[in-house]
């Protein structure tokens, strides 16, 4: 792998980690529960993207499976949390 791609992957991973740091600060600071759920939603998408960049770096397809599982499970959990904020319970 040439230095262009190695550096691009490294910089992109650093940017994604910085994004996760910003979101974590808002997750801790967020005044209300809906801010925290929003940050959780953005956090799992960012973590999924980070896994994809690891997949490009190692040239392995296994990371794709993990990020697909994260996309599926994260959606369900965010919807359950939003439903909980709305109604006070998840399954009525």
């Amino acid at each position: 792998m040439s230095p262009i791609l190695v550096w691009a992957i490294l910089v992109s991973q650093l940017l994604l980690v910085a994004a996760m740091a910003c979101l974590t600060v808002r997750l801790i600071r967020g005044p209300r529960a809906q801010d925290r759920v929003l940050c959780f939603d953005a956090l799992y998408v960012t973590a999924m993207l980070l896994l994809l960049t690891f997949g490009i770096r190692t040239g392995s397809m296994l990371y794709f499976e993990a990020s697909l599982a994260m996309a599926l499970v994260g959606f369900v959990s965010s919807v359950a949390l939003a439903k909980f904020l709305m109604r006070g319970e998840v399954i009525e």
């Binding site: 792998m1 040439s2 230095p3 262009i4 791609l5 550096w7 691009a8 992957i9 910089v11 992109s12 991973q13 940017l15 994604l16 910085a18 994004a19 996760m20 910003c22 979101l23 600060v25 808002r26 209300r32 809906q34 801010d35 759920v37 929003l38 940050c39 939603d41 953005a42 998408v45 960012t46 999924m48 993207l49 994809l52 960049t53 997949g55 490009i56 040239g59 397809m61 794709f64 990020s67 697909l68 996309a71 599926l72 959606f75 965010s78 919807v79 939003a82 439903k83 904020l85 709305m86």
Partner: protein, 123 residues
Amino acid sequence: MTGTPGLPLWAELLVAFFLLLGSALTLLGAIGTLQFRTFYERVHAPTLGTTWGAGGILIASMLYFSVLQSRPVLHELLITAFVTVTTPVTLMLLARAALYRDRSEENEGVPAFDGLVGEPGKD
């Protein structure tokens, strides 16, 4: 600096461009989430990361594996479709929940319920 065997220079440049584009947009969305004042402004910011942020990195991944294996590797489209379909649903539900909570606590700066949607007795 001619690239790995099987990965020509144009492909590497394109993959690098899309990777940097996607991660930079994700970072912009995260900074927006950190900086905006109210929840209703904040709910817009992470969509940068889930549309073109995810799109850029998924395009880079598709391009990299397609050129590397010299056959179309398109299963990243699954994640693309999933993220772009599910994020609006999640954020819509979340914004409605936040609106409901704000209205029931009678906070300021929330549009009043004008009774147009599904209120009994107002047909």
